[in-house]
């Protein structure tokens, strides 16, 4: 595949509309959806495509997110290419069935407009909802902006079906889902060809070859099924990279497990994902101009966690700040815990500070990130979690 032959179209879309645009090009067979802020722009935009006859998709307007994911399980098990979307409380309500979807190895694609969890209720951006689902056996891919949402939706659909596992493509609620950005989209037929046909081996509507989905597996077999699932999850890492690289060749946009931004010779490194990574890159650029050796690692693939690769990329830095838009009440947040275990395995004793920012849509500014780098440079690193931009 070469980029030269692919006509590129520039278009201004919100992150939500970018997801819907990618879906328009993929044209899933079944989409089971329920409204929730800030996810609704995705399903509204797609419903309009349907209303205008641009796509041939069975949209099921279910009565809850629980039923959205349940119907998705049914549709996917039936053999259909299946998509759903949600946020926050909706994802939490789906939680029970997330495990079933992955246990049954159903390649459902879910768009998540990540948002804070109640209580108190808050509709704004955060990663708490998707972090809550991180052990559910779903591949999780974070997106920084509308362009990445578009790209990851296409990569995610193909990955789900190749890996035989469900995939979540994540964008930050509002800051990405509702912000209009310029992006580059591919032609529909190029996307269709890239994603390919979905051809499951076993499915309910293969009526002459009846199968049973969802049996009872007890002490003598359940364990092995779970171990098998972990193996599939582990194997999906390579699959992700392969598909991401193919997409890179197609689009000309670099894709990898994570983005290393001026990290090679950096002393002070920030780890971050989502919308705030964009601001953080500006800060790196600015500080680099002043001769400061700062760099950034932006996580794209979070589950399965590319631990060795991330640790490999960090091996020469002096200090690390892990900036997370999620709180794990009672312990460190997920990135921190995962990276710390990786560093430990590689016997890298790099001082690492946990920061939490942006909960419930709290703004984060360039100066906040600059301060993080400054603190790192001054070795202000402790075991205590530091909260950015709180009033207390």
């Amino acid at each position: 595949m070469t980029t030269a032959n692919n006509k590129k179209n520039r278009i201004a879309l919100t992150g939500g509309a970018a997801a819907a645009e990618a879906l328009r090009q993929i044209e899933p067979e079944v989409m089971a959806v329920y409204p929730i802020t800030p996810q609704t722009p995705i399903i509204e935009t797609y419903a309009k495509f349907q209303a205008d006859g641009e796509v041939e998709t069975e949209i099921i307007q279910v009565e809850s997110e629980h039923s959205a994911i349940s119907a998705s399980v049914g549709a996917s098990a039936a053999g259909a290419r299946t998509v759903t979307a949600t946020s926050s409380q909706g994802l939490a309500l789906m939680n029970e069935i997330l495990y079933i979807a992955s246990g049954l190895r159903l390649p459902i694609l879910m768009l998540v407009s990540a948002r804070a969890l109640s209580a108190p209720i808050n509709i704004h951006g955060e990663h708490g909802d998707v972090m809550d689902a991180r052990d559910a056996g779903w591949i999780q891919i974070f997106s920084e902006n509308a362009q990445e949402v578009y790209d990851n939706t296409i990569i995610g659909m193909k990955l789900a079906e190749k890996a035989g596992l469900p995939v979540m493509v994540i964008m930050d609620g509002f800051s990405t889902s509702h912000s209009v950005e310029n992006l580059e989209i591919l032609e529909k037929d190029v996307v269709k060809k890239f994603v390919g046909e979905y051809r499951p081996e076993q499915y309910l509507l293969k009526i002459d070859d009846p199968v049973t989905f969802g049996p009872l597996a007890l002490q003598n077999s359940y364990f092995e099924f779970r171990v098998d699932q972990e193996k599939a999850m582990k194997d999906s890492k390579e699959e992700y990279l392969k598909i991401a690289k193919d997409f890179e060749a197609l689009s000309g946009r670099e894709k990898n497990y994570f983005e290393s931004y001026k990290l090679d010779d950096a002393d002070q490194a920030v780890i971050i994902t989502g919308t705030a990574a964009g601001t953080a890159k500006d800060v790196v650029d600015k500080m680099r101009k002043n001769g400061e050796k700062v760099g950034l690692l932006k996580i794209n693939l979070f589950r399965p966690f590319p631990r060795e690769e991330i640790v490999g990329a960090l091996k020469n830095v002096k200090n690390i700040a892990v900036m997370e838009r999620a709180i794990s009440l009672g312990t460190y947040s997920p990135f921190y815990a995962d990276i710390a275990s990786g560093l430990h395995q590689e016997e890298k004793n790099i001082p690492m500070q946990q920061y939490i920012y942006g909960l419930g849509g709290r703004d984060i500014f360039a100066k906040d990130i600059e301060k993080v780098f400054e603190d790192l440079a001054e070795n202000k690193i402790s075991k205590e979690i530091k909260y950015i931009g709180t009033n207390k």
Partner: protein
């Protein structure tokens, strides 16, 4: 093995000796001229028929969770629809959900309601054994007034459950489904006729089938048919159907037996046959009479 009878649902399942639901499965699925895809809510039927590595199901089958069999089937049915549109499938296929009363009256009610309202083309078969039997006999909203269950235990200050069962048929009817019926495993000809009618009706249809539980109602394993018949003969479980909103009674019992006839063979009602609980039986008779009279009114 009776090959014809076992064509959709084979033996080798581990339902209790004398369980009623296998006969319901076979009677209902036997009425389909087309292949059937089954979705099943968590419950006795699901755990006993799919114990890995064996499945008793010879027809495509999916168990997702407890409360979402209807939503799951919504997805299957829409997948079928788009496959048809795209020419990926040409066979006619029927879709049947099986759920117990816990999975239907209680935890699965929202999912059922959504699927009925959306108008999916499927038949929902409720096998009603009037409590959570898979978990060992806890009360559900289908449990009758006066029943002794593990969560409505009889005690010094308790005669068992002190609420009436929910009128699920009325709830289903309120969704304007074209066909819903109440049936009983003891009356297989009636059940089969209703299943056939339901399967031939476009859109969502519903059957509530009485399904005695030997283990938790505490009666001998040989008695499920006898007991189920008594339920209809006492007017406790009338046979009726609701077609386009119109109620029709399918069997009128000339001289209904007193409710005691239904209660007496069952351990879950044993405590009622004492002087101090006489009023409970009287109340049960009253509830039964009122339900019947209401049904007669609706059928006019």
């Amino acid at each position: 093995m009776n090959e014809e009878l076992a064509k959709n649902f084979a033996p080798g399942h581990s339902a209790c000796a004398g369980c009623a639901f296998p006969a319901i499965i076979r009677a209902v699925l036997g009425e389909s001229q087309d292949p059937v895809v089954v979705a099943n809510a968590t419950g006795c039927m699901e755990v006993t028929s799919t114990l890995y590595p064996y499945t008793a199901w010879k027809t495509p089958y999916i168990h997702n969770a407890f409360e979402n069999a209807s939503a799951t089937m919504s997805g299957v049915e829409r997948a079928y629809k788009i496959f048809q549109k795209k020419g990926k499938i040409d066979k006619k296929i029927k879709f049947v959900v099986f759920g117990g009363d816990g999975g239907t009256y209680d935890i699965g009610l929202q999912s059922l309601s959504g699927a009925l309202e959306r108008g999916h083309n499927f038949l929902y078969v409720l096998y009603d054994n009037e409590a959570y039997m898979n978990t060992g006999n806890q009360r559900s909203s289908a449990t009758p007034y006066g029943a002794n269950t593990e969560t409505t235990p009889v005690g010094k200050k308790s005669f068992g459950k002190d609420q009436k069962r929910k009128d699920l048929m009325a709830i289903v009817a309120a969704h304007h489904v074209k066909y819903a019926a109440q049936a009983n495993v003891a009356y297989l000809a009636d059940l089969k006729r209703k299943a056939k009618k339901a399967l031939e009706t476009e859109g969502p249809t519903f059957l509530n089938v009485f399904s005695p539980c030997t283990n938790n109602w505490k009666f001998p394993t040989s008695q499920y048919v006898r007991l189920a018949r008594t339920a209809t003969e006492t007017n406790y479980w009338p046979l009726f159907e609701i077609e386009d909103g119109n109620y029709k009674i399918n069997m009128t019992i000339e001289n209904p037996k007193p409710i005691e006839e239904f209660l007496k063979g069952q351990g879950r009602f044993k405590h009622l046959f004492s002087e101090k609980n006489k009023h409970v039986i009287e109340e049960m008779q009253k509830i039964t009479n009122e339900n019947w009279e209401r049904l007669v009114r609706l059928s006019k």
